[in-house]
Every structure is written in structure tokens, then in C-alpha cells.
């Protein structure tokens, strides 16, 4: 009983705390949804946000990305994308696609994925974008 209590407490604490992709945590997103996000990124984002740098829009990989997003909840990145992108038709990307894009951007920046798929925008509230050491 005591072990279960501790186990439940640990899970409860994990639920209250933010996930940052640490070694003892499960993956932050599923690799399958990051793959969908990658395909969408190539179609809709790459022309302005090339990870190699130098394009019109802010670079979404590496130091340029972390300068803006380190320490912020993944939900904030979701909000930014769903409100402002693509530039010619903001608000047009469906919720699930934006979640997949956020997943891909996390993958692009070295945050670990796994088997668990993020199902809703609310789940992004529990993920903190933290630059890997």
C-alpha cells in the first residue's frame, strides 16, 4: 500500500510539474506526429523558416530558436503558430496540424520523442521548452 501511495504521489507530482524532456521522463511527443509535422513544415514553413538559416522568418532551430523560446511552455509556441501562421492566411492551420508542427520543432531542437502522442493543445501546457544541455 505504501509503495502504491508513493507511486501515485510520484505520478501526481509528475502531472503537476512541467515535462522538459529530461532523461528520466517519457518522450514529449510521438515520433509519428513529429514525422507528420516535418512533412507539413516542408510544405508550409520551409520557404520562410529554413533551419539552415538566412531566410525571411526567424530561424526555428538552434540558438536563434532558444533565444526566444527557452523556458516557455510549448503551448505558447502553439499559440504563436496557430494565430499568426502562415503569414498570408493566419489561423488557417488546423489544431492537430499545429500540434504536429510543434512536435517537429521540438524534435528539430533536440527534445526527445517517444510513443505517446499529444492529443490536444491543453497537453502542451505541461511541456516546458528547455534547451538540452
Amino acid at each position: 500500500m505504501q509503495l502504491l501511495y508513493i507511486g501515485v504521489s510520484a505520478v501526481a507530482l509528475l502531472g503537476l510539474g512541467m515535462l522538459t524532456g529530461g532523461a528520466d521522463e517519457p518522450g514529449l511527443y510521438s515520433t509519428a506526429q513529429a514525422k507528420k509535422g516535418s512533412a507539413l513544415y516542408s510544405e508550409k514553413c520551409l520557404s520562410c523558416h529554413d533551419p539552415a538559416g538566412g531566410s525571411w522568418g526567424p530561424n526555428l532551430k538552434g540558438d536563434d530558436f532558444w533565444e526566444t523560446w527557452n523556458g516557455k511552455p510549448a503551448r505558447a509556441l502553439y499559440s504563436k503558430i496557430i494565430s499568426t501562421m502562415p503569414q498570408e492566411d493566419p489561423g488557417s492551420i488546423p489544431e492537430k496540424d499545429v500540434i504536429n508542427l510543434v512536435s517537429y520543432i521540438m524534435q528539430l531542437n533536440g527534445l526527445p520523442g517517444g510513443d505517446k502522442t499529444i492529443q490536444s493543445a491543453d497537453e502542451l501546457n505541461k511541456i516546458k521548452l528547455q534547451k538540452p544541455k
Partner: protein, 667 residues
């Protein structure tokens, strides 16, 4: 009796002079009302105000008095995910002691000019996040028939008519308060135009994009030569009914149709007037600056001078009838859109008073015309220019060159233009330059090599981002000085034969926009020179005061420090190198205000993080004051009087700050 009659006539004369003086002041309403009725000051877009409460003697006391975020907090209550971009274009207008502006998502907000507090906000309909999400726009416009007061705004494909008192749409206008600006294009391309509407003499005049085709409707880039022309249109301010359409590409039977060879008139398009428009309400003309045709860097399919691409056009406001035009670039292959507002003002040249229109362009020239007739104030000469070597291309044998005033920014590239902060850097710059074709203004694009060590193309100065752009141009009607705010950044025009099965154009920019796979992209923010520096000498941003009574440069200064803190430069004790952003100026009685522009502006070449607002002595270009801004400017500043106090308001935005308006006033 004679003396009494003489005195009476004298008195009448004095009264007439006084009334005439008041009439000429009333014609430019700002001096009496202290308002700012349009985002460029008024519809001359001179960015000038005669207000003088803030002046050189007291500006050191100017303080930040309020800040307002670009999105009212009420929106977040309904749409928690709604986040505006950091690029807040909206400059408020001030009418009847209320500020009106497009906000960070393009909805209109009305707020108090003395406190920044909300009066009303436009509600998105339907009330969904998708409808609420949007981009910001540069301005709204105001119309009244003496009873009704309306605000007109553009958002997405729609032109909205909003009750200025309540913020509710005016249902009698268009369809439930709005009309669609979409054009009839095969790909159902959506309209977009960042400037907002221009309402004058009961007509709403719209330029803007949405012809479909390459790269979303600018005619820049892409692999297709087909698009629809982006005609200018006039709508009734009361009902929204379309009154007229001006064909930017003349149709069969219209003069100029024969300037499109090989039947290219059937399928080429773009040429949007995406720069701000101006109007002379008394004369009854609107001035419209059009841009480059499809596509901007290769025109083998469209031999001819291609009217009215890159033309300044004067139309009758009521009918859209063409009164006169002047084409600044024949057969554009440099993307030298007319990107600046056609500023209106009066000058005195050789003793003659001229009602002028002053048109800056990306190429660094200011073209000055009599705005009634289109006659150049100083001769504009057709001069021979180099011929393109791209197979199949047609080159105009000449281009128009203004004889006065001198160019306000650098034109043409040569070894003498390469950086020489140190001898070592110059040697490296010369070596790098061997991969480019250098040459004078209007050196055409050239072929890009397949080999990474081969030729990259033509190094054009100015490049496609321009020397001049939408931010360029402020005019002082008291002195006849035009202030050109510009940037110096080369463009690389390297063309390759298209081999993509989707391509319908024979040549396009070299693969992946100026770089090859595996090669780092040239970074607009870092430069294509050695060690990430620019390849060419500074200044990279400047202000040039042009005395348009003489057609001469009065002074020219770099605008800001620029990159002098780069690791290779910081120990060299360099002067200000100029910031290559897009700041817009504000001229007052004694001062020229100029903020540093933000890297949130499209192209990303401005300042990241906190920046400066400077005031220059408008006669000499000396900086008399500066203060900190929480982020770089993203739109033009405006000034007005409210309850006896003068305010200066600047739209700002940046990654760390977000976006909003900041207001300054004296204590």
C-alpha cells in the same frame, strides 16, 4: 474722403489676406485641430506636423507616458491562444480626440490619445480563433458626411465599414458591413494589401495584391510567368459599390496594350500598388505607384516596356480616368517596384511655385513632377543601359535617369564599394567579389554557375529590397526639404535555366534562392561578405535631406550605430555605420524624429531588442536627443495634440517585448 476710402480698402485687403491665410491653413487641417488624420500625417503622406510644443529646447524632458499592447486584453479572455505577431504595422490616426488603429491582428481598436485606454474594440465575426487570428495593417481611414462618422479598414480579403462611435459594423455598407476585395483569379487567390484604404471625396481607393501566381502575389520568384494583373479600384464610401477599375495592364484596344510583346498581355500579371497611395482632394487626383510584373527578374516572355508596371499613375478620384503617368523602370528585371508613397507638397524652383509629387523608388532616385500635369520638374533623361546576357531576355535599351536631385543612396557596384575596415578584410572582400558581376545601376541579372566555385550572379546595388521602400519619404512644406530614409544592401541576381516540370518560365533565380544545396544561405542579417560582414562599405542605412527648391543634397547622415559592435569591428573606433532597417520618419517644426526599426519587420534587417528613438535637427542632420524604445519601431510615428498636450506615438515590436504602441509627451 480719399484717405478714408484708401484706409477702407487697406482694411479689406488685410482682412482678405487674413482670410486667405486661414483658408490655406484650413486646407491642411492639422495646424488648427492638432489631429493626425492619416498614418502619414495626412493624405499627402508628408509625415509632417507643424506642432511645436515639443521642440529642441525641451525635448530632453520628453518622457514615456503610456504603453498599450497591440492586442486588447478582452480578446485573450475569449481566445486564450490568440497571439499577435511582433510586426505591428499599425500607426494610429487621431480624429476628434480618439485614436483609431488596426491592432496586432488587424482588428480595429479605438483608444484615448492621452492615456492609451480602450474606448472600443472591433469584434471578430464569427467569434472563432480562426476569424480573430490575423496580421496587422498600416492604417485605417476616416469618413464623415457631417452626420455619420465611419472608420474604414482592410483585414484579409475584406474592406470593413465601422461606426466610429461604437466599433460596430455599418450594415448598410456592402454585405453586412464589408465587401470582399478578392479578384477574379483562376486559383482564387486571396486579396492582401498592408496599407489599408484611402478615402477621399467620397471614394475608397484600393491598391493591393492578390493576382495569384508566383510567391503569393508579388511577382517575385516562383517558376511561373502567369498571374492576374492587380488593378486599382474605387468604391463608394457610402454603399461599398464598385465605381471604377483602372487596368494596370492595358487590355486590347487600350493605349499601352502593345507594350506587351508575344501576347504576354494575355497571361502576365501582378504589378500591385502595394506602397501607400496619396491624394490631392482639391485637385481631385489620386496618385498610385505600381510595381514589377511577373516575374520580377526575368522577362524574356514579355518583350516591351510593359505599361503600367513600375509607373506612377495619376487618376481622377471620381472616375478612375487616367490623367497622366510616368514609367520609372522600363521592362523591370530587378524587382525595382515603386515601393514608396508618392508624397505631395509644394516647392519653389527658379522662382516658380510648383504643386509637386515626389516619388522615391527602390533604385535610389527621387522623381519630382508637377502633380497636375506629370511634367518632370527637372529633366529626366533616357540613357543607354547594359544589355542582358540571359538567353531569350529582352532588355530596354534605355532607362529614365532624373538629372536632379542626386540619388539619395548608392547605385552600382565596383571594387571601390567593397569593405575596407581593414586591409585584410578588403583583400578577402575583393576575392569574394570575383564570383559576382559588378557594374553600374541597371546591370542586368546574369547566369549563375552550376559549380559552387563558379559565378553567383550580378551584385546589384540597390538590390530587390531597395534603397527606398514603404518607409522612405517625409517632406517639410515649410522648407521644401524631402527626407529620404534608405538602406544600402546589395541583391544577388543569379539566374538559372528552369528544369522543374512545373515551371512555365524559362529562367528563374538560382536554386533555393541564391544558394546551392549544402551551402549556407546568405543571411540578410549577417551579410555576404567576409566573416559574416556586409560585402560593401557603409553606411548601411542613411537619411538624406534633399532641398527640392534647388534639387540638391543638403545633408546626409548614417542613421544609427549599425554593426560596429561586431567582434572584428568593435576595437576599430568606427563612426555610426547606419542601420539597414526600414524606419519611417516624422518631421515637425524644428525636429526630424526617426526611430530604429525592428528586426520583426519583413526581411529581418532591423534591430533586435531595445532600440532608440532619435530626434535630429532637421536643418543640419545633427542628433539633438535620443531615448530608449523597448523594441524597434515597426511602423511610422505620429504626433497630435490632446487636451493641450503634444504626444508622439510609435508602434514597436520585438521577440522579447512583444508588440504595442508607446507614447511620449512632456511632463
Amino acid at each position: 474722403m480719399k484717405v478714408e476710402i484708401t484706409k477702407a480698402f487697406a482694411a479689406c485687403g488685410c482682412v482678405a489676406l487674413l482670410l486667405g491665410g486661414i483658408a490655406s491653413l484650413r486646407a491642411k487641417e492639422k495646424p488648427l485641430l492638432g489631429e493626425a488624420p492619416y498614418f502619414g500625417g495626412d493624405k499627402t503622406l508628408d509625415r509632417y506636423s507643424p506642432l511645436a510644443q515639443i521642440n529642441a529646447s525641451n525635448i530632453k524632458d520628453l518622457k514615456l507616458v503610456w504603453e498599450r499592447p497591440s492586442l486588447d486584453a478582452e480578446y485573450k479572455e475569449h481566445f486564450p491562444d490568440l497571439t499577435p505577431s511582433n510586426y505591428l504595422r499599425g500607426t494610429p490616426i487621431m480624429i476628434g480626440n480618439v485614436l483609431y488603429s488596426p491592432d496586432g491582428v488587424g482588428l480595429v481598436e479605438a483608444f484615448d490619445p492621452a492615456s492609451g485606454k480602450t474606448k472600443w474594440i472591433q469584434k471578430p465575426f464569427p467569434a472563432t480563433l480562426k476569424e480573430a487570428a490575423g496580421e496587422s495593417y498600416r492604417t485605417v481611414d476616416f469618413w464623415s458626411d457631417g452626420k455619420e462618422k465611419r472608420i474604414f479598414s482592410v483585414r484579409g480579403e475584406y474592406l470593413y465599414c465601422i461606426d466610429a462611435k461604437t466599433g460596430e459594423v455599418v450594415n448598410e455598407f456592402g454585405e453586412h458591413g464589408r465587401i470582399s476585395l478578392n479578384r477574379n483569379t483562376p486559383d482564387h487567390a486571396r486579396y492582401f494589401g498592408w496599407n489599408g484604404p484611402l478615402v477621399v471625396n467620397g471614394v475608397i481607393i484600393m491598391g493591393g495584391n492578390g493576382g495569384g501566381g508566383p510567391e503569393g502575389g508579388y511577382g517575385d520568384g516562383g517558376l511561373q510567368k502567369e498571374a492576374r494583373p492587380e488593378d486599382a479600384r474605387g468604391f463608394d464610401a457610402r454603399t461599398g459599390k464598385l465605381l471604377w477599375t483602372f487596368h494596370v495592364l492595358p487590355q486590347p484596344g487600350e493605349p499601352g496594350n502593345d507594350t506587351w510583346g508575344l501576347d504576354s498581355w494575355k497571361y502576365v500579371g501582378n504589378m500591385a500598388a502595394w506602397a501607400p497611395l496619396t491624394a490631392d482632394a482639391k485637385l481631385g487626383y489620386v496618385y498610385i505607384p505600381f510595381s514589377a510584373p511577373t516575374n520580377s527578374w526575368y522577362g524574356g516572355h514579355r518583350p516591351g516596356i510593359n505599361l503600367y508596371s513600375d509607373s506612377l499613375v495619376a487618376l481622377e478620384i471620381k472616375t478612375g480616368k487616367l490623367m497622366w503617368y510616368y514609367q520609372l523602370i522600363h521592362h523591370d528585371i530587378w524587382e525595382y517596384d515603386i515601393a514608396s508613397a508618392p508624397v505631395l507638397g509644394d516647392i519653389t524652383v527658379a522662382g516658380k511655385r510648383i504643386h509637386a509629387v515626389m516619388q522615391a523608388s527602390k533604385n535610389g532616385f527621387l522623381y519630382v513632377f508637377d502633380r497636375r500635369t506629370g511634367k518632370p520638374v527637372w529633366p529626366i533623361e533616357e540613357r543607354p543601359v547594359p544589355k542582358s546576357t540571359i538567353p531569350g531576355e529582352w532588355t530596354s535599351p534605355t532607362q529614365p535617369f532624373p538629372t536632379k536631385p542626386p540619388a539619395f543612396d548608392r547605385q552600382g557596384s565596383s571594387e571601390a564599394d567593397l569593405i575596407d575596415f581593414t586591409p585584410e578584410l578588403h583583400v578577402k572582400a575583393v576575392a569574394l567579389s570575383k564570383q559576382y558581376v559588378l557594374g553600374p545601376l541597371y546591370t542586368p541579372p546574369s547566369l549563375k554557375s552550376d559549380s559552387p566555385d563558379g559565378m553567383k550572379g550580378t551584385l546589384a546595388i540597390p538590390g530587390g529590397w531597395g534603397a527606398g521602400n514603404w518607409n522612405t519619404g517625409a517632406f517639410d512644406p515649410e522648407t521644401g526639404i524631402y527626407y529620404a530614409v534608405s538602406r544600402t544592401e546589395p541583391g544577388v541576381y543569379g539566374m538559372m535555366k528552369t528544369d522543374d516540370p512545373k515551371a512555365t518560365i524559362d529562367y528563374a533565380f538560382g536554386e533555393a534562392h541564391e544558394h546551392r544545396p549544402g551551402e549556407p544561405r546568405p543571411d540578410y542579417r549577417r551579410g555576404i561578405g567576409p566573416e559574416g560582414l556586409p560585402l560593401i562599405k557603409p553606411p548601411y542605412g542613411r537619411v538624406t535631406a534633399l532641398d527640392l527648391n534647388k534639387g540638391e543634397i543638403l545633408w546626409q547622415v548614417a542613421n544609427g550605430d549599425g554593426i560596429r559592435n561586431h567582434p572584428l569591428l568593435k576595437d576599430l573606433n568606427l563612426p555610426p555605420l547606419g542601420s539597414p532597417g526600414r524606419p519611417a520618419a516624422l518631421v515637425t517644426k524644428t525636429l526630424l524624429f526617426l526611430p530604429e526599426s525592428s528586426d520583426a519587420i519583413m526581411g529581418g534587417a532591423g534591430v533586435a531588442g531595445p532600440s532608440k528613438l532619435r530626434a535630429y535637427d532637421k536643418r543640419t542632420g545633427a542628433v539633438v536627443w535620443d531615448t530608449d524604445l523597448p523594441a524597434g519601431a515597426t511602423g511610422g510615428p505620429i504626433t497630435y495634440m490632446s487636451e493641450g498636450k503634444q504626444y508622439v506615438v510609435v508602434p514597436v515590436g520585438g521577440k522579447k517585448y512583444g508588440s504595442g504602441w508607446v507614447a511620449f509627451a512632456l511632463p
